[in-house]
């Protein structure tokens, strides 16, 4: 059975400018342990889908099941890495940010520190745990977000363009680390991006979304390439071109 099932999910916002159907008839099964990359142009409804899986927002049509149970609210089984880094707690150190979920569960100070240190090292920030978010670079903050989600040991990770605001080099480094961490932990990942290369480098499957209104899943392409992925290999290029063609149609309006 799939870990997460989206069954004909739709979301219509009712705002000041009237009703806006952001997502329509979105169906997808996520298997346990897979790394699913959701690709789409800006405004097509990617964040909306993620927010519904996270339980921050409710679908206005269809339903989302986690282990067969409808998702009604956010929970510790779904860790989220947010698009910006406003979600870190400025008044806590990097280490205490990472250990925040453990604190919520009442874990003692010593155990919490030890576990947080472990994840601090995992994201490559050894020795920087005493810094506050204001003393960290953008890339370091995203690492802290990832470590914070992982330390809580969720069943799946929901990541919303986690590397979107980073420079190309930092992004490549973090992609490599995320891939390695995923190989180690085998968490189910729903990873949102608008970077085709990123999607093909990280995902076991890549889903391409159709532009809104009524954004929906247009195609799903399996990526059967071994990790770590060789970005200059012919097989990688072929998959890249396949995804690129789908996105290209999307941008230039051929439906």
């Amino acid at each position: 059975m799939a870990l997460v099932s989206l069954e004909g999910v739709g979301k219509t916002y009712h705002g000041r400018t009237g009703a806006w159907e952001a997502v329509r008839d979105f169906s997808l099964d996520l298997a346990d342990g897979e790394f699913f990359c959701l690709l789409g142009t800006s405004g097509c409804g990617k964040t909306t889908v993620l927010n519904m899986v996270a339980g921050f927002e409710q679908p206005t049509a269809g339903r989302i099941l986690l282990d067969g149970v409808p998702v009604e609210r956010p929970g510790a089984d779904r860790g989220v890495v947010f698009q910006g880094h406003d979600s870190l707690y400025d008044w806590l150190t990097a280490l205490d940010n990472i250990g925040f979920g453990l604190r919520l569960r009442g874990l003692g100070r010593r155990d919490r520190r030890a576990k947080a240190e472990h994840y601090l090292n995992m994201v490559g920030l050894t020795g920087q745990g005493a810094k506050h978010p204001s003393e960290l670079s953008g890339g370091m903050k995203q690492r802290i977000q990832i470590a914070r989600a992982l330390a809580n040991d969720p069943r799946m990770l929901l990541m919303d363009e986690p590397f979107g605001a980073l420079d190309a080099m930092t992004r490549a480094v973090l992609q490599g680390e995320l891939s390695r961490i995923w190989a180690e932990t085998r968490k189910t990942v729903l990873f949102i991006t608008h970077d085709i290369e990123e999607a093909v480098a990280l995902g076991t499957r890549v889903g391409v979304m159709k532009r809104g209104p009524g954004g929906t899943l247009k195609a799903v392409i399996p990526v059967d390439l071994p990790f770590p992925r060789e970005r200059t290999s012919d097989a990688f290029m072929a998959t890249f071109r396949e995804v690129h063609a789908l996105i290209h149609d999307e941008i230039h309006g051929a439906h």
Binding site: A54, G55, F56, R73, P74, G75, A76, R78, G79, V80, F82, G84, D86, S87, L88, Y89, D90, W91, L92, T93, F100, G101, R103, L104, R105, A130, H132, P133, S134, R148, A149, N152, P154
Partner: protein, 263 residues
């Protein structure tokens, strides 16, 4: 060693700040001296030296200390009372829409009635003893603290709350561990503004109805034309206000996480 260089630049920064303050105050006194000695040349405008000498006399006679303690005790009592009332109300207004609808008319109404205008009723209700002053300081503190606290709660980032929720936080935990600490800098800023109001209010209240305090010192000095006493009181007010404000700024910075605060 990088950590050493960082710490030493922090220290030189602090030294530079303190040196700047000392130089700034010194300049103020020099200009005051020059103005009194060469510009105004009136016995109604004493220079810093006669005022300093007078202050020494007042300190020797234990008069200045008593007035400062009297005024500061009222300020602290009223200020703490007002904050203790204002913070929970502000948190409630910021957290619950119903409370906002119910209480916002109150705060929006009373904050335009200055404490100084309330002196007369305060004296009628509470007499000229301590109660009326504490009431007035608390009154002037409450509304500023309520408004900034409520604004702080409203300004907590949505992602901060969502992050806690998907880490498994209960509503109570979201409030205590996210909304509250995120609001602390706003609360302290409100208290800092309220403290400035408290100084205004206490002097006005003591001028009109009191047996001691810096306001009383000012009033008596006017009655007996002791011009130096007036200046001693004014300088004392300025210095006290300056020092309390420093304390608040340090607290605000620490809570905002810009320094390695141990909070």
């Amino acid at each position: 060693m990088p950590s050493f260089t960082m710490r030493s630049t922090v220290r030189t920064d602090k030294l530079a700040t303190v040196a700047g303050y000392v130089a700034g105050f010194a300049l103020l006194f020099v200009i005051w001296h020059l103005a009194a000695a060469y510009l105004v040349k009136s016995i109604l405008f004493p220079g810093p030296w006669p005022v300093f000498e007078r202050a020494l006399v007042l300190i020797e006679d234990n008069i200045l200390q008593e007035q400062i303690v009297a005024s500061m005790r009222r300020i602290m009592q009223g200020f703490l009372l007002g904050s203790a009332i204002g913070i929970p109300i502000g948190l409630a207004i910021g957290s619950f829409r119903i409370v906002r609808w119910l209480l916002e008319p109150w705060t929006e109404f009373f904050r335009f009635i200055p404490a100084v205008a309330m002196i007369t009723v305060a004296v009628i209700w509470f007499g000229i003893g301590e109660e009326s002053k504490i009431f007035l300081i608390a009154y002037t503190t409450v509304f500023v603290v309520v408004i900034s606290t409520a604004a702080g709660v409203g300004a907590v980032g949505r992602d901060k709350i969502r992050a806690a929720q998907c880490l498994g936080a209960s509503r109570l935990q979201v409030f205590a561990l996210v909304a509250l600490p995120a609001t602390v800098p706003y609360i302290l800023t409100g208290m800092r503004l309220a403290m400035a109001n408290a100084f205004v209010t206490i002097v006005a209240a003591e001028l009109i109805a009191s047996n001691d305090g810096l306001g009383k010192l000012l009033w008596d000095a006017r009655l007996f034309m002791q011009i130096e006493d007036i200046f001693v009181a004014l300088v004392a007010l300025g210095l006290l206000g300056f020092l309390t404000d420093r304390v608040f700024r340090v607290l605000i910075r620490a809570f905002a996480g810009r320094f390695n605060a141990t909070v």
